[in-house]
Amino acid sequence: MTTTTAPAPAASGNTPKARRTGGGLGRYLLIRALLIIPTVFILVSLVFFLMRLTGDPITAALGGRLSADQLAERIHEAGYDRPLLIQYLEYLGNVFTGNFGTTISDRKPVTEILVTYGAATLELAFYALLVAFVVGIPLGMLAAYVRDRWGDAALRVFAILCYATPVFFAGLLTKLVFSVWLGWLPISGRASTRAQLQMQRLDDPTGIYTIDAIRTGNPDVLADVLLHAVMPALVLGLLTAGVFLRLVRTNVIGTLSTDYVESGRSRGVREYRLVTKHAYRPALIPIITVIGLQIALLLGGAVLTETTFEWRGLGFMLSQYLQARDFVAVQGIVALLAVIVALTNFLVDVIAAIIDPRVRY
């Protein structure tokens, strides 16, 4: 349809189909990118109005601690006594320019919180996804291979258990067993104080401790950082691993009954090879599309995991501000996470569209 999209379908290697449906990858990406705007807009507006239902944030945070006059002054100073609509428009404008507000309790810009603590959440999410892939995908294939037998039932119950156990309970249990009783792993935090001091001595540390620890060149520091990450990553990763296991199992079973797998089977290809070579790859495509939704689950889980393990990331800070009833900070962090979720969903959809032309239809 449009000539501007010409290079994109060529890269995807499915030109005839894309041309027939009239647009192909480029058009799909454009529409998908434009859809970010209403998504972020809706979530940010929703959060704004919900947070204002209870009244202004200053009374919520400082009410009872300041006199009525002081409160009124602070409210006026921050502009919370103006009409709600004007506040809303101003807020939208601020968000649009990347200003998510300033916290009440410690007067920090929310974007600074993101810069300081975002790396920790990123690191945790990365390790958790790693655990989820390493545990979920092979076990899902195994479950499909032994389907409708005891091994399958056991694996499925395991998957449900992964989902059914609240991350904070799993966290408490692992802490109890591996830290308190066995003493194998550190009980909380991202690194011990000594390791942290070594990493702070680096010029411009990244905040991603694994990278910083490698840069110090000290194996003890790296070991310390990795040991601290084991339990949080495992706990958060297993939550997603259960979802992956179920998904891979269902999809592999689905592809195992397709014609091309049947034809392989009739040629005498062994079932093991059918699962690992024939049915496995197409079954991975739905996983990529589902990862988008998993990001949401992962972020929600990260708030709980970080709180349990005192892993000082965005989620930990969010729960700290919740305790302090600093709703500007809460609103800012939640709005920020909305942007992150919308962006990652977009990226995941782009990857899915590049890999599987059917997604774009």
């Binding site: 308190v180 079973i253 919740l322 909305a338």
Partner: protein, 354 residues
């Protein structure tokens, strides 16, 4: 195996869960039955909590005096006491009641609103449909726990008595779940409204309301039991998550598992296990039970995943009578390579499409 043919299936046999129970075989039936039993235990505990629990959920003393703080399990307190001096076993049992109330409220509200919106949106279409779809997609993609936190701040300001706490939790879970019902019912409505019987109802002059609720809704409820069970388990997890983050219900108002777990973080570091384990196990147990039911319903609804009793029998027959068990085909016209590249067998009249 038990029910080979049922000529006149009674109303009872067509009820959602009963029907699937009859349909299931082998392991699948085992998982479904296990899930149903666990769910039944949960429901009974919730209903009879006042009689089952040895003490009240906010009871600090009995005739012998105060319970004492963080007492290890003993004959008097089978699972010990919390730091606050409550009996752990009693609070765990009472917690079932709170969880049940929240699930019921959340599911009733989200189902009602979600189904209504889905029907209206799918039936009328237009700009309302488009707006609702975008809004629901936005909410659906967002971490439900974060949304629940914001909503619970909005509903109760974060401070909760029993009913305020239950409405806050149920209300926040409701909003999170509405999109799920909305999506399913809307998709079904769009599909069904072009069916011939809807057309003929229109021609006969049936009112819009009648068409929507009688003709479309009655036929769009296929997947509801499944979403219902999955949402029930998610509701428990969200409630526990809220409680864990400090949006729980005050311990003097009701027992709530997430709140108790939050209070036990500090205990775990000092090796006190009995305050953390019972409420956690309770959550896992209930969610496991409900999810088992939901998963089984899901599998039974999907022909690819349904237990393969008949298929297995048939496969056995085929294997016995088949002339080509395994390897023989390799010596076929094109050999294995011929099959793999998807060549056509023109001379035999069999066309193999790639």
């Amino acid at each position: 195996m038990t029910v080979a043919t049922v000529p006149n299936r009674s109303r009872w046999a067509r009820l959602p869960v009963v029907h699937q129970l009859r349909q299931s075989v082998g392991l699948q039936r085992g998982m479904l039955v296990a899930g149903l039993i666990i769910t039944a235990i949960f429901l009974l505990t919730a209903a009879f909590a006042p009689w089952v629990a040895p003490y009240g959920f906010s009871q600090l003393r009995d005739a012998d005096g105060l319970f004492g703080s963080a007492q290890p399990p003993s004959a008097q307190h089978l699972l010990g006491t919390t730091v606050g001096g409550f009996d752990v076993l009693s609070r765990t049992i009472w917690g079932a009641q709170t969880a049940f109330l929240v699930i019921v409220f959340a599911l009733v509200f989200s189902m009602f609103i979600g189904i209504l919106l889905g029907l209206v949106s799918g039936y009328f279409g237009g700009w309302l449909d488009r707006v609702l779809v975008v809004v629901c997609d936005a909410i659906y993609a967002f971490p439900s726990l974060l949304l629940a936190i914001v909503l619970s701040i909005a509903i109760s300001g974060g401070q909760s008595g029993l009913w305020a706490g239950i409405t806050a939790a149920a209300g926040s879970i409701t909003v999170v779940f509405i999109p799920q019902y909305f999506r399913v019912i809307r998709a079904e409505t769009v599909r069904i409204k072009s069916e011939a019987y809807v057309e003929s109802a229109k021609v006969l002059g049936a009112s819009t309301g009648r068409i929507m609720f009688r003709h479309i809704f009655r036929n769009a409820t296929r997947t509801l039991p499944l979403i219902l069970t999955l949402n029930a388990s998610e509701a428990i997890l969200t409630l526990a998550g809220l409680g864990f983050l400090g949006f729980g219900i005050e311990p003097t108002q009701a027992a709530e598992w997430g709140y108790d777990l939050n209070k036990s973080i500090a205990d775990v570091s000092s090796g006190v296990w009995w305050t953390a384990v019972p409420p956690g196990i309770a959550i896992v147990f209930v969610v496991l039970g409900i999810t088992l039911v939901g998963e089984s319903l899901n599998d039974l609804a999907d022909p690819r995943l349904r237990g393969r009793r008949r298929a297995a029998k048939g496969a056995g027959l085929v294997a016995e009578t088949s002339v080509v068990p395994g390897g023989t085909l390799t010596a076929g016209p094109g050999g294995v390579d011929g099959l793999e590249s998807g060549e056509t067998f023109g001379d035999q009249g069999i066309e193999v499409k790639s």
